[in-house]
Amino acid sequence: MMKTENNIETEKTSEVSKKKEMIMFLSGSEEKEHFLSKANRKLLTDPLDDNNPITVQVLGICSALAITVQLKPAIVMSLAVVFVMAFSNMIISILRNSIPSRIRIIVQLVVVATMVILVDQILKAFAYDVSKQLSIFIGLIITNCIIMGRLEAFALGNGIYKSFLDGVGNAAGYGLILIIVAFFRELFGSGTLLGYEVIPEAVYAAGYEDNGFFLLSPMALVVVGVVIWVQRSRNRKLIEEN
């Protein structure tokens, strides 16, 4: 009699611990959290300003600058990065307990490369001209340092849902800067936005001219420099010592 009761109890506790394990696995912490709790919201909004991947963490600049001549490729690129980053973060987080740490970089690269191939093939099928415009820069998402950085720093140690949010947040922070830079370059460089003329004829008639310099690569760097300047003078705690 005693024995069976004990058995039932152990069964119960094992069930509870299983559930706990599951929660641990999904969210990375013991307690059950609301889906959009404060901590989770912070994961989404922090990378937009205080911890922006481009202007603060200095990651992922490689592809950020070359495709910002026009707004449209910049938007497509941001969406591609959101997709790749959210899902590779998630996959690595699912696998995080079974990846041997010595070969983790190769595993990460393979996961990211697979996601990028998916994006590349989809773009080639449904938006061929944009895919031609982005040329090698879709492929270069693989070596985008933000993705590797977040996989290393976040996905390897956190639950699936949190990693997903972190991926979306960081990719959005990246996309935000991309779109700001592309907005100014297209507006001043060719006087259009998304291909539509926005500067009225009368302004041209009064002697205004498009600044072709904005279309050249050096201006992308200067525009990012100015974005950083504006952000840091608004947000003083980001100022560097040297």
């Binding site: 992922g60 970089i105 191939i117 590349d120 270069l140 985008n144 760097l221 560097e240």
Partner: protein, 204 residues
């Protein structure tokens, strides 16, 4: 002559950093002092000069449409080019590992100097970018791919050396506080890129 032209073009006109913004992350992160910049630059030259020709062979004998005909004529229709990214990145990661082990065994002093930079290079966009540009450019032989890889590496080396030297000096200047560090580095890089644009149109 063709080769010299390609070489100078890949160093100055199509500079990895200034014309295509490739390798920017490590360019900004490792350019605080000249010494580390030289280490990373040397490692990049080395790895680019090795991986671009190797990827050229892989592209031409495995991936392109009809590239497998050397195995048997019935493979003429096979097109594996959708595997490009994963193959290239695998080659790069394993080459970097290989280079690291060789250098550690035969040149411990160089390994000490390059040490931490070698593994970083696997995820340097300049390396993958070099291979992907190589694929777009349709080189006629492995020698052209090799020269292109070497030239691009030297271009990156020059860029990172230049910015590191400037950043060492700029520590003494009076830069507006919010621009310090990253901001001013971006703007200087932009100015250097304008300088490099003056090489445009040079044809030997």
């Amino acid at each position: 002559m063709e080769l010299i032209n390609l070489f100078t073009k890949s160093i100055f006109i199509e500079n990895m950093v200034f014309a295509y913004f490739l390798g920017m992350c490590s360019y900004l992160a490792v350019s605080k002092t000249v010494k580390t910049a030289v280490g990373l630059g040397a490692a990049v030259i080395f790895v680019l000069a090795v991986t671009v020709p190797v990827n050229y062979l892989i592209d031409n004998y495995f991936l392109q449409q009809g590239a497998l005909t050397w195995l048997s004529p019935q493979f003429a229709e096979v097109d594996l080019s959708f595997l490009t990214f994963i193959m290239f990145i695998a080659v790069i990661a394993s080459m970097v590992q290989l280079v690291e082990m060789t250098v550690e065994k035969f040149a411990p002093a160089l390994y000490g100097a390059l040490g931490i930079f070698l593994p970083l290079i696997a995820v340097n966009c300049a390396i993958l970018g070099g291979s992907l540009f190589m694929q777009q450019k349709d080189f006629i032989g492995i020698h052209e791919a090799g020269v292109y890889g070497l030239g691009s590496g030297i271009g990156f080396f020059l860029a990172i050396l230049g910015i590191a030297a400037i950043r060492e000096k700029i520590a003494y200047s009076n830069v507006p506080a919010p621009l310090k560090g990253l901001g001013i580095t971006f703007i200087i890089t932009g100015l250097m890129a304008i300088g490099f644009m003056s090489f445009m149109g040079i044809d030997l």
